[in-house]
Amino acid sequence: MLKKISTPKNLLLLGIILFTLVLPLVIGSNQYVLVLTTTVILFGVMATSWNLIGGLGGQLDLAAGAYLGLGAFTTGTLLTRWNITPWVGMPLSGLVAAGVAALIGAPLFRFRVRGVWYALSSSALVQVLYTAFMMWSSVGGPMDQYLPRYDASFYYLRYNTYAPYYYILLMLLYIALYLNYYIRGTRLGFQLMALGESEEAAEVLGVNARNSKLKALMIYAYLVGVTGGVYTCLFGYYHPRFFDSNMSTEVAILGIVGGLGIPYGPLLAAAVLVRGRELLRANLGTVVERSSMAVYAVILVVIALFRPSGLAVLAGDIYRAIRLRFAKDTYVKSADSAGD
């Protein structure tokens, strides 16, 4: 029993979990590194949740910013208007985001909007919400709405360190990752994967495309909505610019270059690319102003063109190559045939 649990894979997993848990204690004094890591986790949560609809279900959703913004506005408005704690606000944010996703998604899936048109309509949704919230003056309109300021308040979820937000987002990340692994083994997961391969074929085989896609979309929207709640507490304000098209596209891109449908792919992409983007911004930004995004774009394009299966597959290849080199033949053979 113990031998079965303590496989290299599980030990590695345990190591990673422990590492992520103690990380803020190690780098706690360096807030820059901590905020960088938090940003990576933030994108990791969104991209990993996106993987359910985008990777498994094959629907290229570009509306992460819409659900993030809805979450931020729900938590933020509840807190600033009615003094309701984010701990209540965050789950409600998820519900609001999932509700809006259902309202938008049901007719889209009902009328078989898919492929590029689904991507475009979700992209338009972000812009619609941005404009609508800019004009909706009773929730702030174009004014920044600030949350109450506290150095350390559990009720208001306001801290002068990033560590608490890091832990909340980390928890969301593990939930998103767990869901990615869990759903793959369920009926819904198989239906989504079939839809991702070919919608026509899946429907002929009796998959209810509308329901499966809607479920995946709502789970994704829920997680991103909750993330939006954390997001507004992390930054201490909310504004319609949280309905961000660029961020929405970036989430999808992370999912794509990470490896569509591979549970840990988007997180890997977030870890490498978001981190890399910030490094570029810090180093290159001082040499040629604003040039970092151009370099970032080139990297994205090169990965998309030459590694279409994604970073996760690349990492898997490297991992196997290293093991082949160092491990005993018999061990590699058995592990490979069992594990992959």
């Binding site: 660029n246 774009a297 994205l300």
Partner: protein
């Protein structure tokens, strides 16, 4: 009241002609090659900056700038095709979106490096002033732009209908394999289409900048606008595209006049989502 309505309607129609021209470029790229180009709006933005740069840097009148910007944008389009798009042809549209989004970020970043993030506008053109016809006022820049746009739309229509290259493009659009059996070089035809689609943004951009300013983030707006017009029209019909472009222009103009200037793209995007729900093939779709 009625005069006011008609005036806004006229403004919308003039705007719609330019939008149609921009969407026509996308229509050639998407309709012919089935390539999903998310960077189309950013080509418009680049075209506007190129116009700005030539007219202020070289002191040219904006009217003359297309002499340089059309070949420039055509070249950028052909280059983008050979470097990027060509490699994605046989792939899933997801790869195309990823690659063209990368191109979009790249173009946006480069223009920010070159021109900074602040909005730019050009100096006065020789075309200026207004034309009064009865109770209605035509701003000369807009009127001239609309006329130029329509001329280009007709020219493209004739090019596709009458010239050999136009036939090749349409043949490739209908059935690529048969077309290549008949001696049409698919790679060259595709590169030509992509270059042509991009070159049209040069005209559109030059026309737009005569009456509105440019900033590096505006590509998003024109990209979605073009896709909205395309969705409304359906693929394969240039007259249909012109009608859809006019509808979008009028909707924008009327929204700005009677509801709220900020809401102009809101109604267009809502129209876009609505048309996908109720008529996914568009109003005039051939395929």
């Amino acid at each position: 009241m009625l005069d006011n309505l008609i005036q806004n309607f006229i403004n919308g129609v003039m705007l719609g002609a330019i939008y149609t021209l921009i969407a026509l470029g996308l229509s050639i790229i998407f309709g012919v090659m089935n390539i999903v180009n998310f960077a189309h709006g950013d080509f418009v933005m680049v075209a506007m900056y190129a116009t700005f740069w030539i007219s202020t840097g070289l002191g040219w009148d904006p009217v003359a700038t297309p002499l340089i910007t059309i070949p420039l944008l055509f070249l950028i389009g052909v280059l983008a095709y050979y470097l990027l798009i060509h490699r994605t042809l046989r792939r899933n549209y997801v790869t195309q979106i990823a690659v063209t989004v990368g191109l979009m970020v790249f173009l946006r970043s480069i223009t920010q490096v070159l021109f900074q993030a602040r909005p730019r506008t050009i100096t006065q053109s020789i075309i200026q002033g207004t034309l009064n016809l009865g109770p209605y006022t035509f701003t000369m820049t807009r009127l001239a732009s609309a006329i130029v746009a329509v001329v280009f739309i007709v020219a493209i229509y004739l090019f596709l209908a009458k010239s050999w290259a136009g036939w090749a493009i349409r043949a490739a659009s209908d059935d690529l394999d048969s077309a290549s059996l008949l001696g049409i070089n698919p790679t060259k035809t595709y590169a030509l289409s992509f270059g042509l689609g991009s070159a049209l943004t040069a005209v559109g951009g030059a026309l737009l900048i005569t009456f509105q300013q440019v900033d590096p983030t505006m590509g998003m707006r024109f990209g979605l606008l073009s896709w909205a017009i395309l969705a409304l029209a359906g693929l394969g019909s240039i007259p249909g595209l012109l009608i859809s472009g006019t509808i979008v222009g009028v909707v924008e103009s009327l929204t700005a006049a009677y509801w709220d200037p900020r809401a102009r793209s809101l109604t267009v995007y809502l129209l876009f989502i609505l048309i996908l729900w109720i008529k996914p093939k568009g109003l005039f779709g051939r395929k």
